[in-house]
């Protein structure tokens, strides 16, 4: 992604910019923060639209409750808080007030996954896909690049049902496939076609797949297909089943526990539909997470160009 690096921005920054654009012409856009406007890159939003930002203080349960009340009155309420707190501290509010009561709150998990790196497990969200997948009536989205982020936010603003979006802090490419300009919640994006192996990834774990695929192509003449499943629920069954139809190995990659996330969702879909492709789930193991920056943690667990290259070579060897 050399060509896009100069303009690549953190998905979180894109979120803030898009939201400002939306708020300019839509008074119903309301942002609710839990002392998180700085971490959410929302200081400029607050300066430009002070009437459209609500601070609740460090109180995530109330954050989601207040956003629910705003949404029930017709506001397009974005509840913004670090993903770790939003989806654990306020999980009952998400389950009851938002999902069960069908209030179209937009839950924004910022600095998700291991974005906070060395701050440790209290600040990591490696459970959010799993817990939210098990709750009825909520869409779960993790955009890979700036393009998917912008489109997902615009779509979320107009959604009439609950949605959770999670973003990281690290700069991401503008667009991992400038030719794939169709974006729809619930529909995956093919980042590149390939014949020997398929990477199925989500969020910031898509980029290392792209990098690994380059190494595999260059050094081993292995051609990889890459699918960005930005919507973890509902899953794009059609695209995933079609991608598995060539019987080639599949590697799923996510910044999440290997339990209950994208990998298990895809495995469940494929297995129940009769597919028996070689299959490997890459994510954070069920262990105390190693300390370090996001990139160091990724490298440690093989969510990296080198790590995924090795995983691919192993699975192809066994194929």
């Amino acid at each position: 992604m050399e060509e896009t690096k100069a303009t690549a921005t953190a998905n979180l920054e894109v979120f803030s910019e898009v939201l400002q654009n939306l708020a300019a012409s839509d008074k119903d856009i309301m942002v609710v923060t839990s002392d998180s406007r700085g971490s959410g890159k929302l200081v400029p939003f607050g300066q430009k639209y002070p009437e459209q930002i609500v601070e609740v203080g460090i109180a995530e349960q109330n954050l989601v409750g207040v956003a629910t009340g705003l949404a029930s009155m017709g506001k397009k309420a974005f509840a913004v808080s670090p993903a770790c707190f939003l989806t654990a501290r306020a999980l009952e509010q998400i389950k009851n007030d938002v999902a069960y009561s069908d209030n179209p709150v937009k839950l924004i998990g910022i600095s998700a996954g291991v974005s906070y790196g060395a701050l440790g497990t209290t600040h990591h969200s490696l459970h959010d896909y799993a817990v939210l997948r098990a709750i009825n009536n909520i869409t779960v989205v993790a955009p890979a690049d700036n393009f998917e982020t912008a489109e997902a936010i615009k779509a979320a603003a107009e959604m009439k049902s609950p949605v959770y979006l999670r973003f990281g802090k690290k700069n991401m490419p503008v667009n991992l496939n400038a030719n794939a300009t169709d974006f729809k919640i619930g529909k995956g994006r093919v980042i590149q076609e390939g014949t020997n192996l398929t990477f199925v990834a989500t969020g910031e774990a898509v980029l290392p797949c792209v990098e690994a695929a380059k190494l595999l192509e260059k050094d081993y003449n292995i051609s990889c297909k890459i699918v960005s499943i930005h919507t973890i629920k509902p899953l794009d069954n059609e695209l995933l089943l079609a991608s598995a139809a060539n019987s080639k190995p599949i590697i799923t990659v996510e910044e999440h526990s290997i339990y209950g996330g994208l990998g298990e969702a895809v495995a469940s879909l494929l297995f129940q539909n009769g597919f028996r492709n070689k299959f490997k789930i890459v994510g954070l193991p069920d262990d105390h997470t190693v300390s370090g920056s996001q990139i160091e943690i990724f490298n440690h667990y093989g969510i990296s160009a080198e790590g995924l290259k090795n995983t691919a070579l192993n699975i192809i060897k066994c194929d």
Binding site: A59, N62, G65, A67, G69, S72, M73, K75, E92, Q93
Partner: protein, 278 residues
Amino acid sequence: MHIAELQRKSLENRKKVLKYIYHAKAGHTGGSLSILDILNVLYNDVMNVSPENFHSNDRDRFIQSKGHSVEALYVVLADKGFFPEEDLLTLCQYNSPYIGHPTKSIPGIEQNTGGLGHGLPICAGTALAAKKDNSPVKVFTILGDGEMAEGSNWEAMMFAAHYNLDNLCAILDYNKLQITAANEDVLGLEPIDKKLESFGWAVKHVDGHNIEKLSQTLKGLPLEKGKPSFIIAHTTKGKGISYMENVLKWHHGVPSEEQYQLAMEELDKQLQELETKE
């Protein structure tokens, strides 16, 4: 509505609460009888809400935070014409929408509740939206006394005071009993008025079964301009039925046939007394 008319409605609605709980063999009897007068006054004398205006954004909002006392709410909404009363014969039956907690699938109900400590934060967000829109909407909730131990309530209280939500009124159903024992034995609540005041709310004690006082108080909101109002309604769990009043087992006790007949006789007697007084 005339006070005597409201008093009569309360007694009749008590009979209905018991009728449907007796029929369902399930329900939160004590708490439903405890909040019934408050609900009766809210829906028939205070709030601007009816089946006709329920889809208007300007209707007043009520969210029952202590969702388990849903039988009282069902009866009051049915009486108000939101749905046919006989629907309540399906209370807690297989595939009935009339489950043991409020849900939006029932006409007249604003939010699904049941988990405690959820109503007040939602009401605070609703009240804030009304302020932002310069809307006349007033927002009400009833909380249980045991429920006050939930931390989310205190988060919402800080918030509502900070944003001067004087269009918000929380009513404490202070019957002083929760499922295990008296509040003061489970987790002391007192001095509740001072705690609420220190959180920036205007606070008033009221007899939660005195229709006239409830009506005056709830029509006179906000208690103080610029502050959310907290009404500490002193109530009696199992109110109106001699053998249920202040008896712990009636938290979710269901009367036997004999007990049911006795309860109905007691309520009929109270209705007769009311008529004589008039």
